[in-house]
Amino acid sequence: MKSGSVKAFFKDRTRIGWVAVVVLAVFFATIGDPTYIHLGSLVAIWALWGSSFNLIWGYAGQFSLAQVGFGAVAGYSVAILTARWGWSFWAAVPLAIALTVLFSVVVGYFSLRLSGFYFAIMTLAFALLVVRVISSSELAGRSTGIKSNFDIGTISLGPLEWNLTSRTGGFVLLAFVLLAAVLAFIGRIERSGTGWALNGLREDETLSRSLGIEPLRFRLVGFMVSAVIAAIGGILYATYLRYISPGFFGLPAVIAMIALVVLGGRGFRFGPVLGAVVYIGITQWLEVGGEWGDGVFGALLILLVLFAPKGLLGIDLRRLRRRAEPPPPTDDDEPVAARPVPRRESQGVKA
């Protein structure tokens, strides 16, 4: 970086994240090439799904495998309401999100009391149950799914017309605007008492309880919010493809969601964005063929887990440089010498 002020600007990782989101949005929305519109839509949608999982796992520490199921409930609700029952898209969306939240409360009620492994299994069971029910329901089109031209239409913004039709630059822009809104919202949670409570519960539930933080209450809130985010992702996905089928919401989707969050960096707000870019980049853009793409992505994940378990954003460059020095003693005899540590400037949990 050339000038000092540019360097200072990019010292804050949050700013880098925002710049990246804007650059991605502008790039994919204006390029006009159908291939890139496809890639851009997928990046935004997977970043949304990843953000949903990142909120509940990265922030709240709950390894929930139900997120894809939430996406399915929302996507199918919109599909059935519009294609089968003739609702307008904009009327169907709020109802679909409300139904998803309701469903997440049911899932949360049964699963959030369980710890670790059992929570993961219980939420996975719910996700698979949703797919099972969908693929055997006539209303949901069984395994073929529902074809539907989700007609979002055009929004007029004064003199500007915003065409939201699927597979246009306008749709890509819509997807990124929703992604940005979700990221901003997660940022707000990060800085709030609710965010601190979720962090505390993730780090040490016993200590949190001793400080008056009620586990079930905050986890349920986190679960519901993550369900809303997953719902937005699910609806966008179905809208983009103009089609919805149980195949989108099976185990591969669950695994991809986990993988891209791990890749980008668990608990980093912009981690899922980076994860989605890399995931879509490798599996779609490189066009290394379906299985090979997954293979390359898998190999990358293995390397990452081995060498940078906190994900790409979790790589601490300063610490890498300090590696050579011996680790500091943990059990000093002396009263601990004051280390010169700069005072905090901003107080987010993580960028």
Binding site: S192, R209, P335
Partner: protein, 263 residues
């Protein structure tokens, strides 16, 4: 914070506490009260049941029988979080901190009881949420200064040396704004200089109107800071009196002090 408590009022009282693990009664008929403003100590040999008493009082374990009242109200089956929220706070024998968070973030998290989160306001970004966020920051900054932790503010709690982690664990308890603070072995593993520092901290905490009950093996510390000492052995209370009375109690000397407790 504790202004409305009359000095000498019995804040916390337990009667006939029993807690069994399988067939073994770890706590077997213990009863006592903690008076506002007092510093009391609970001592006894390893396995006497001291930590179990704290677990019962703070709601981390359910009683087998017996009752607990908090400012006259029965809390025997109240949730741990509710007890902490009402000012009955405990710390842990093994230092517990939020390892991945910085010292400052640890304190902000711990202010939950003082500045409760309103989930809906937080999610909607209402002005109250921002005000409360500022209050939390202010409170955390104050604690950093009061307990000389400011220079470590940006260090990850998990990277702190043992003594500081222990100290932070104690300050987290203070951050929860207790009326009564139950401390489980705050001096365990500390060197002499750190114990001196702990004495100052105890004076600071007491000075702010907090009633203190300490479980400790460090007799030097106990004898110098306590108004009252209770002694447990095998789940039972065998003595209760001033430090001087306890030091001269034959049963206590036989059961505990005689067998090489840290003087």
């Amino acid at each position: 914070m504790t202004a409305e408590v009359a000095p000498g009022e019995v804040l916390l009282e337990c009667t006939d506490l029993v807690r069994r693990f399988g067939g073994v009664a770890a706590v077997d008929g213990v009863g006592f009260g903690l008076r506002a403003g007092e510093v009391s100590a609970l001592i006894g040999p390893n396995g006497a049941g001291k930590t179990t008493v704290f677990n019962l009082l703070s709601g981390f374990l359910a009683v087998t029988s017996g009752s607990i009242t908090w400012r006259g109200r029965d809390i025997t089956s109240a949730k741990a979080t509710a007890r902490a929220g009402s000012g009955l706070v405990r710390t842990f024998q093994q230092p517990r901190v939020f390892a991945a968070l910085t010292v400052h973030q640890n304190l902000v998290t711990a202010t939950h009881a003082v500045v409760p989160s309103r989930v809906s306001a937080d999610l909607l970004g209402l002005p109250g949420a921002r005000r409360r966020a500022r209050q939390r920051q202010g409170f955390a900054d104050e604690l950093l200064d009061r307990f000389d932790l400011a220079v470590h503010a940006e260090v990850k709690a998990g990277d702190l040396p043992y003594g500081l982690r222990k100290r932070l664990g104690l300050v987290l308890g203070v951050a929860a704004s207790p009326r009564v603070l139950l401390m489980d072995e705050p001096a365990a593993g500390l060197n002499d200089a750190e114990v001196e520092l702990l004495k100052q901290d105890l004076a600071t905490i007491r000075g702010s109107g907090v009633t203190i009950c300490i479980v400790e093996h460090h007799m030097g510390l106990i004898m110098s800071v306590s108004d009252r000492v209770m002694v447990m052995e095998s789940g039972r209370m065998i003595a209760d009196g001033t430090p001087a009375e306890i030091a001269n109690d034959e049963r206590v000397v036989a059961a505990y002090l005689g067998q090489g407790a840290t003087a």
